[in-house]
């Protein structure tokens, strides 16, 4: 690849993961501003800080809570993701996360699981209501935005960085413009390099954020960690948000349906079956 001296890169840790920003023809200060934006928005959307907007919503006990425009948009998109995924992508997953012991950042370690408390997830529209500048959550419900927030943030950040930029927030990425050499942004997907233009990519996996026999991808039908015959799905789609939703949906529908689902919804994909799995 011809080396382009105008390619700027900036790497940092935020959102509990590694983040990378790239831009062609933009200043390093712009990338640093991008990092600040990620940290500010991440602080609003995390469930691990009691002062975040999301934690205030989760703790409101059914009362309306004022939310920022960004949180409002993300909650509205979460409702859309619930519909487009047939209910499989459901951010009302917090009670299950707590039941499996994911009560704090995994760098601090999981706490003992209380799987008996895990329940089938409620339909998101039945527990979450969003209006201009506010949101309300039914008592007993809780939201964890997880990868959806990262995919959406990658899209918004890429737009903020400029016409020729790429934002990668822990593997959820969004690329825009012709890339460093004019033929797209070269991005690795399961060992293959693909050239992204105005695309997003995401990977959903049960192989990371895993402890004991548990992991963080919840089957909404049971409220427990999913075991579908797929361990990991990587996807390229029109945006980082779409890629995240498609990857998680494909992971949850399992190998028999995931291929046709990806063929209908994704631009590129790779499915990793669970070891020992074979098609019926």
């Amino acid at each position: 690849m011809p080396r382009n001296p105008r390619l700027e890169a900036h790497h940092f840790e935020a959102l509990g993961t590694n983040c990378s920003l790239f831009g062609v023809g933009i200043s390093r200060d712009r990338l640093l501003e991008g990092e600040l934006w990620v940290r500010r928005l991440g602080a609003r959307l995390t469930r691990f800080s009691p002062d975040s907007e999301l934690s205030r919503l989760n703790a409101a006990g059914g009362r309306w809570v004022a939310v920022s425009a960004e949180t409002e948009e993300l909650l509205r998109l979460s409702l859309r993701a619930f519909e487009t995924s047939g209910g499989l992508v459901n951010v009302a997953v917090l009670p299950s996360m707590l039941a499996i012991g994911y009560t704090r950042t995994l760098s601090s370690g999981a706490t003992p699981a209380t799987l008996g408390r895990a329940r089938r997830l409620p339909p998101l529209p039945s527990v979450l209501t969003v209006r201009r500048g506010g949101a309300r959550l039914e008592p007993g419900s809780g939201i964890d935005l997880g990868g959806i927030a990262k995919g959406w943030m990658a899209d918004r950040l890429r737009e903020r960085l400029g016409l020729n930029a790429l934002a990668n927030l822990g593997g959820d990425l969004s690329a825009g413009g012709p890339g460093p050499a004019g033929d797209g942004w070269p991005v690795g997907l399961a060992g293959v390099t693909v050239m992204l233009h105005d695309h997003g990519a995401a990977t959903s996996s049960v192989l990371r954020r895993r402890w004991a026999a548990l992991h963080h991808v919840i089957n909404p039908r049971t409220g427990l960690p999913a075991a579908t015959g797929l361990d990991e799905v990587s996807v390229v789609a029109r945006s980082g948000f779409d890629a995240e939703v498609i990857a998680k949906t494909a992971l949850l529908v399992g190998p028999d349906v995931a291929r046709s689902y990806c063929a209908s919804n994704a631009l590129a994909w790779r499915l990793e079956p669970t070891r020992g799995w074979e098609a019926a």
Binding site: A9, G16, A181, L189, G191, T193, M195, A202
Partner: protein, 69 residues
Amino acid sequence: MKAWVLKGGATLLTLATTAASALYVTSHLKNSSAPLQPTVLTSAQLNAVTLTPGVQQSDVTPVTSTYAS
């Protein structure tokens, strides 16, 4: 025409049709060129990266990757 002729003709026609059908289906157990045969997937097939025409593969070094975190 006598009734037994009609009955006999109908019986013969039925038997002949049954025999012909049996011969046909036993000699056409599988049509290898039949369309819309579902593919039997293997783990290796699922593991491969599938690209649509909207996304090109390249041999250049990626600047970053998608991964689980």
